[in-house]
């Protein structure tokens, strides 16, 4: 019974969205749409602007996740495995972007982007997205590193492996689940980023959230619902795939004799 309620709570909004997206001419007081048609979807998919927004958003989110992982890895490793003076303040500095109101950061970054000529460029948007994603990747990876046993690496070292080889042959494998989760966080944050894209992109870079917001102000429920579902699909698919992958490969870092 409890399970059923949870499923209803989870699925009801999605079903409503789906119904709206497929409806045509659904007016009060009709309980169901007069006509169901995938017209809204086909219209969206045939619209090059929407297609480009989807591809751009995906590329952006993937690039941002990768860069966040690359930038966050050394910081997380230092925080998770070592003790050093002022560790607390380093933590605080890394976390600051999540505490300060996004609009405050966004306005500042917008001005900075205009001054440096990065405004409206993909590179500028990528940099802007890394600001909110980095704290989450560092936080997740630091937790992974706190439980990480460097002796695996020392074993490889003693067996003659070079540091580069150890990183690719040992560390990446051991950390894969943690890296996947951290990357997923970054992906989701970047994927759903509206404010920073708008402020730093200056309206010239159209991502899916930007399109969605303009559609919402347009007020056509069918278009809004169809767009929302398109917006939801990639994260849901990725989370499902990751959950499956993590389920199959339980985090090997905790493995004990």
């Amino acid at each position: 019974m409890k399970k059923l309620l949870i499923w209803i709570a989870l699925l009801a909004p999605l079903l409503t969205l789906g119904l709206f997206a497929l409806s045509k001419g659904w007016f009060y007081p009709e309980p169901f749409p007069a006509q169901l048609t995938p017209e809204a979807f086909s219209r969206l998919i045939s619209d090059t602007r929407t297609l480009k927004a989807i591809i751009d958003s995906l590329l952006l989110a993937v690039l941002v996740s990768l860069l966040s992982l690359i930038i966050g890895y050394p910081a997380a490793r230092a925080i998770g495995t070592q003790d050093f003076p002022a560790k607390k303040y380093v933590w605080l500095a890394i976390f600051l972007p999540t505490v300060v109101p996004p609009l405050a950061i966004g306005m500042g970054m917008s001005i900075l982007a205009l001054q440096t000529g990065l405004s409206g460029t993909p590179f500028g948007i990528i940099l802007a997205h890394i600001v909110p994603t980095l704290p989450y990747t560092v936080f997740t990876l630091a937790g992974v590193f706190a439980r990480y046993d460097e002796n695996y690496e020392y074993q490889a070292l003693a067996l003659g492996a070079s540091p580069t080889r150890i990183f690719f042959a040992i560390t990446l494998h051991l950390l894969a689940p943690g890296l996947a989760v951290a990357g997923l966080f970054a992906f989701l944050i970047s994927w759903s980023q509206y404010l920073l894209t708008l402020l730093v992109g200056g309206g010239r870079v159209l991502t899916l959230p930007v399109l969605l917001f303009s559609a919402v102000s347009g007020g056509n429920p069918t278009t809004i619902s169809a767009l929302s579902l398109l917006f939801l699909a990639p994260p849901v698919l990725i989370i499902a795939a990751t959950a499956r992958f993590l389920g199959e490969n339980p985090n090997s870092v905790h493995e004990r004799i």
């Binding site: 074993q155 070292l157 067996l159």
Partner: protein
């Protein structure tokens, strides 16, 4: 075949008050198994880390066959580790784990396969190449870890309490296996342990560590029977220490009375000691006999532990199990045979 020499090694960890290693010197002969024995936190593991290049010494030298290794990159030193945990790479099969070092060195797949099979025969687990580490028991994992370390024919094998997490029968079995394989391959080995029995059973020589340096190093039987100082004596289980003055074969102690000793040329203040197994208990008086009363008798199977009250002190003797168990309050003679009394200070 490598001789390992430590000269005047010192190491202090940042933020620590006292050095973990302080003027540590030791030479391990080629093909020898030397154990470093001492209470935990005494810098035994640090020493292995220095050899492997995980840590750097503050001063002193480490030489392999007379050549300093401190300037050599850690992955070129050919000193391999075996820890308390096997640290098999969980995402590789047993065969791939063992072949890891060979792959790094650029051996061909056929050679790798052949050597892996050889090593698996040597550790007594033939044919398990395709198993996953998590399908093996703790003892098997340690054997595979040993195979992975030895397949590259390292110069030095470093054992950091590798048997600690295992059950006693598995542990004894593995100790014997490691010792046999080490002898067969003639690999210079340093074993770190706090377990006296393990050190005695496995080593050619034992080095007792105290205060960051070697307090005593010798063959296990010599260190066990005749530890050279009070601290080492306590570590190998000596409990009876007698303070007094020696003069030409007699040793006079305020608490113990007059005892005969073997070294006739020792004169002046000294402390003598005796192992609990060497104390004899009997009814009749003889040389070096002291009158006492049985306080407690504990049957331990292989031996009988007898506590005897002598004046104000309690002395503990380990008697062969064939002795009879005496009731508390029984008057006895405690014999401290002079050939077993040794000087510790």
């Amino acid at each position: 075949m490598t001789t390992v020499t430590f000269t005047h090694i010192s190491k202090t960890y940042p933020k620590a008050d006292a050095p973990v290693l302080d003027d540590f010197s030791l030479e391990v002969q080629s093909g020898e198994l030397v154990s470093l024995l001492g209470p935990s936190g005494i810098g035994k593991s640090t020493l292995l880390k220095l050899i492997a290049g995980i840590e750097k010494p503050d001063g002193g030298k480490i030489l392999f066959d007379g050549e300093s290794i401190l300037s050599i990159a850690p992955n070129q030193r050919e000193a391999v580790f075996m820890f308390q945990k096997a640290y098999l790479f969980p995402f590789l099969s047993v065969g791939e784990n063992i072949a890891f070092g060979l792959k790094v060195k650029g051996f061909s797949p056929e050679e790798r396969q052949r050597k892996v099979a050889e090593m698996l025969d040597l550790i007594g687990l033939p044919g398990i190449e395709n198993r996953r580490p998590n399908e093996l028991s703790g003892g098997e994992q340690q054997r595979v870890a040993l195979a992975r370390s030895l397949v590259i024919r390292p110069k030095v094998l470093l054992l950091d309490e590798p048997f600690n997490s295992l059950d006693r029968p598995v542990r004894l079995n593995l100790q014997e296996a490691v010792r046999n394989i080490q002898r067969e391959l003639g690999i210079t080995t340093i074993l770190v342990t706090h377990d006296l029995d393990e050190a005695m059973a496995m080593s050619d020589r034992m080095a007792l560590m105290m205060g960051g340096k070697v307090a005593a190093v010798d063959k296990p039987n010599i260190l066990f029977q005749r530890p050279p100082c009070m601290e080492t004596a306590k570590f190998v289980g000596v409990e009876t220490f007698i303070e007094g003055v020696a003069s030409s074969g007699t040793f006079v102690s305020a608490e113990w009375g007059e005892l005969k000793i073997e070294d006739a040329d020792k004169n002046g203040r000294a402390v003598y000691a005796i192992r609990p197994e060497h104390i004899r208990i009997q009814k009749e008086k003889c040389e070096n006999a002291l009158a006492g009363v049985v306080k407690n008798c504990i049957y331990r199977g292989a031996q009988i532990e007898m506590q005897i009250v002598l004046g104000e002190r309690v002395l503990r003797a380990h008697l062969p199990a064939k002795n009879e168990i005496l009731p508390a309050g029984e008057p006895v003679q405690v014999i401290l045979p002079k050939e077993h009394l040794f000087i510790v200070r």
